[in-house]
């Protein structure tokens, strides 16, 4: 009964209990399966360093400044490591995608690193460059994952998907920036009329990002659930994972890269 990939048997007495037990089993199964792909130590360190970055908003003491700088720096470097490792260690992108990726990363980093007085902003301002690199890599990893899940092979749709994912990841920032400029227009000392006029395009881009996020999430998650066998099919009893047999999945040269065999595959 300690096999996480196996659904618990149905209990006729309670539908809610059944739903909860099924959900918990799914979670366990997802965790178990994704462990083969993930870089768990980096994921946990990343999450643990997030609270330290909150010190950026408490700029009242030099010690807090340095805490923010160290926390943000650690987070940024780990973000690059995590997604860089997933991108180059687990996934494989085409040459064209690599070209676009490097070009976009170079533009973003160039804009940041050539900004005058950036270094004098605060001790943590240097962390902006790796953070943006993390954003670019994050978008690339999500794109390759989605392309593989959706079985997208043609280059143009994959490039569009790449751009869409960068936009989707930047959507909260675009909306926040747009709202700040829209509201900041009332504080005429801080926001010039020209800057305030940018709030509409930013909010519009944020809106497009929201739509793309919903669309990509729905389609990709549905496909992922189908691959993972979480979609209920008619006439299935429910005691075993549905469609989760190795025979159902097509073989691919990339499969060994996605899911290397390890001794730990034999579960205790």
């Amino acid at each position: 009964m300690n096999e996480p990939w196996r659904y618990p048997p149905s209990v006729p007495a309670s539908r809610v209990a059944n739903w909860w037990r099924r959900r918990r089993a799914e979670r366990k199964r997802l965790a178990y399966a994704s462990a083969r792909f993930d870089l768990r130590w980096a994921r946990w360190l990343l999450t643990l360093s997030v609270p330290l970055t909150a010190a950026n908003f408490l700029r009242s003491h030099p010690a807090l400044d340095w805490t923010a700088a160290v926390g943000t720096g650690v987070f940024a470097v780990l973000l690059c490591l995590y997604f860089g490792w997933l991108l180059f260690g687990r996934l494989q992108c085409s040459l064209l995608e690599l070209l676009v990726l490097v070009g976009f990363l170079g533009h973003v980093e160039g804009l940041v690193l050539t900004t005058p007085r950036l270094a004098s902003m605060s001790p943590g301002s240097w962390a902006l460059a790796p953070l943006l690199a993390g954003w670019v890599l994050y978008g690339a990893v999500v794109t390759l994952a989605q392309a593989r899940i959706l079985a997208l092979e043609r280059p143009v749709p994959r490039l569009l998907l790449l751009a869409a994912n960068w936009l989707v990841l930047a959507t909260p920032a675009l909306i926040v920036a747009g709202v700040l400029l829209r509201c900041g227009g009332q504080f005429e000392a801080m926001v010039s009329p020209d800057m305030a006029a940018w709030s509409t395009p930013l909010l519009a881009a944020g809106g497009v990002g929201c739509v793309l996020f919903v669309w990509l999430s729905v389609t990709t998650r549905r496909s992922a659930r189908e691959i993972f066998g979480l979609v209920r099919r008619k006439g299935h009893s429910g005691d075993t994972p549905k469609g989760a047999s190795s025979d159902a999945a097509p073989r691919d040269p990339m499969d060994a890269r996605l899911c290397p065999r390890r001794p730990a595959d034999v579960h205790p």
């Binding site: 009964m1 300690n2 990939w5 965790a31 399966a33 994704s34 083969r36 792909f37 993930d38 990343l46 999450t47 997030v50 700029r59 400044d65 943000t72 987070f75 804009l111 940041v112 005058p116 007085r117 004098s120 902003m121 605060s122 943006l132 954003w135 994050y138 994952a145 989605q146 899940i149 990841l169 930047a170 909260p172 920032a173 675009l174 926040v176 920036a177 700040l180 005429e188 000392a189 801080m190 010039s192 009329p193 020209d194 800057m195 990709t220 998650r221 659930r225 691959i227 993972f228 066998g229 979480l230 989760a244 047999s245 190795s246 159902a248 691919d252 499969d255 996605l258 899911c259 034999v266």
Partner: protein, 504 residues
């Protein structure tokens, strides 16, 4: 439950399952999105600001040179008025204030009975040496306060001392006029005007602001002397007219202050952003532009907007146009390329102070016309019906206002002048038939000679802003004495506060 049986292998994994599972399981990534979003917001801000970010070290060299060009030349020891003012400051004896009594410096416009107080008279007598030093300083034309310009925009230390020196001269003028010595009173008034001019020698808005305050204080003293201790000889009136006719020239003053403030302001912004100095006093808000502060990227837009709006304001001043505060805000909005807090604060202060300069000149014209009106009265034993009657014997021409070129006007107010009892706050009216000689003021409307000050009984809540000099009628009345006649008009705020009539 711990499995006790033999180890069992999971179903053979679909390699794409791992990827799908990773994609579906996104809780950690949701948390990472928070700092990533903050970084992207900063990135968006960076895209807006990076185009105007400048190098403070490069700008600092140019702005330091521009500032040092303003440093006044050294003045030989015997010719420097600042030395006499320093001696006066040392010789000045503080007023011993009785408990519950008012300080005479707080009420230079009070009625003359205040200056009968022996404590006030003793104070003036004890400060005779200080007053002589102030006279000696006022007689000199050159004044170098020795301000260290390299410290940037900061309030000069001498200003508060000169405030006290001005109040002392004003109180001395009131005491002397009440004693009938109008020549000594006029001399103190003249010294006050000269001291105000010397205070503004440093081309900073701080100093110009004190200039306006000192000149207004001296103007109020002349008005109070005419109201309470009216000079009755042509000679006395002539010395007052000579004292009031100091050079004020608001346009030149505004141009000088703008040039000085631009040099001081840009140097201070550059030096703070380059980490060369730490801001002091009222400019501490600049500290956010210093290196290591989060807002240091705003330096470029702040500097650019400050320079542009000062240049345009200087151009409008040279054309003789006085910007209102609303127009000053529009000016900032026109030149703003990003955050412009410094420019907005500065423009608001400039507009307010430049209005004060212009009003000061307008006040000088009305006082001069009022004193000429009194000279006419002393000469002919009657009042002039129109200001035209004073031309050409007492006035070369009827003066005009500064804000609007309309000639000064004259009206007789049957209500008189308000007096507020400072201890009880009650108002009483006296001097029915007061003659008001007035200009239209900044709003350009004829408010029948009513100004914003408390002598017209409605303080600042009423929109009247005429610049007025009040000449007492030939037959004066004491405060509290019932004045004949009715007010020539009822002010809006009085309509609401008037008690309702009883109906049978």
């Amino acid at each position: 439950m711990v499995p006790s049986g033999p180890q069992t292998a999971p179903p053979a994994p679909d390699p794409r399952e791992a990827l799908a599972a990773w994609y579906l399981r996104r809780r950690h990534r949701g948390v990472w999105l928070l700092p990533l979003t903050a970084a992207l917001v900063v990135f968006v801000g960076l895209l807006f600001l990076r185009g105007m970010a400048g190098d403070p070290q490069t700008n600092l060299r140019a702005s330091r040179a521009a500032l040092l060009a303003l440093v006044p030349p050294d003045v030989p020891t015997g010719e420097n008025a600042a030395d006499d003012y320093a001696l006066a400051d040392k010789a000045r004896v503080a007023y011993v204030q009785a408990p519950g009594s008012l300080h005479p410096y707080d009420s230079p416009k009070a009625d003359s009975s205040r200056f009968d107080n022996p404590a006030v008279q003793t104070h003036v007598a004890n400060n005779a040496a200080a007053i002589q030093h102030l006279y000696a300083g006022a007689a000199k034309t050159r004044c170098n306060w020795g301000v260290d310009y390299s410290l940037g925009y900061a309030r000069p230390g001498y200003l508060s001392q000169q405030d006290d020196n001005t109040w002392l001269l004003c109180v001395h003028a009131r005491v002397a006029a009440h004693a009938g010595d109008h020549k000594a009173a006029a001399k103190s008034c003249e010294a006050s005007y000269k001291l105000a001019e010397h205070v503004s020698a440093t081309p900073l808005l701080y100093c110009a602001n004190r200039f306006s305050t000192h000149v207004e204080c001296a103007d109020n003293v002349v008005q109070s002397i005419v109201t309470w201790d009216t000079p009755t000889t042509l000679d006395d009136l002539a010395v007052y007219r000579k004292a009031v006719r100091q050079r004020r020239d608001p346009q030149a003053m505004a141009a000088r202050i703008l040039a000085g403030d631009k040099a001081f302001g840009l140097y201070t912004v550059d030096a703070v952003a380059a980490g060369a100095i730490r801001p002091r006093g009222l400019t501490e808000s600049l500290d956010r532009l210093a290196p290591g502060k989060g807002a240091s990227l705003l330096y470029g837009s702040e500097r650019q907007s400050l320079r542009a709006v000062i240049d345009e304001m200087a151009a409008s001043v040279s054309r003789g146009e006085w910007l209102t505060r609303a127009q000053a805000r529009d000016l900032v909005a026109r030149h703003q390329t990003g955050p412009a807090t410094l420019a907005l604060e500065a423009m608001s202060a400039y507009a307010w102070n430049f209005e004060s300069f212009a009003q000061s000149e307008e006040r000088a014209r009305t006082i001069d016309a009022g004193l000429a009106f009194l000279q006419f009265r002393v000469t002919y034993g009657r009042d002039a019906k129109l200001l035209d009657e004073l031309v050409p014997k007492f006035l070369a021409a009827v003066p005009t206002g500064v804000f609007h070129a309309a000639p000064l006007r004259l009206t007789v107010d049957p209500r008189g002048v308000a007096r507020t009892d400072l201890s009880t706050g009650k108002q009483s009216w006296y001097n029915s038939g007061t003659i008001r000689i007035y200009a239209l003021g900044p709003n350009g409307k004829d408010d029948k000679g009513y100004s914003r000050d408390g002598d017209d009984g409605h303080f600042s809540q009423h929109p009247s802003d005429d610049t007025v000099f009040r000449v007492p009628p030939m037959k004066t009345s004491a405060p509290g004495e019932k004045t004949p006649g009715k007010p020539h008009r009822v002010l809006p705020h009085e309509k609401t506060s008037a008690p309702a009539e009883k109906t049978p």
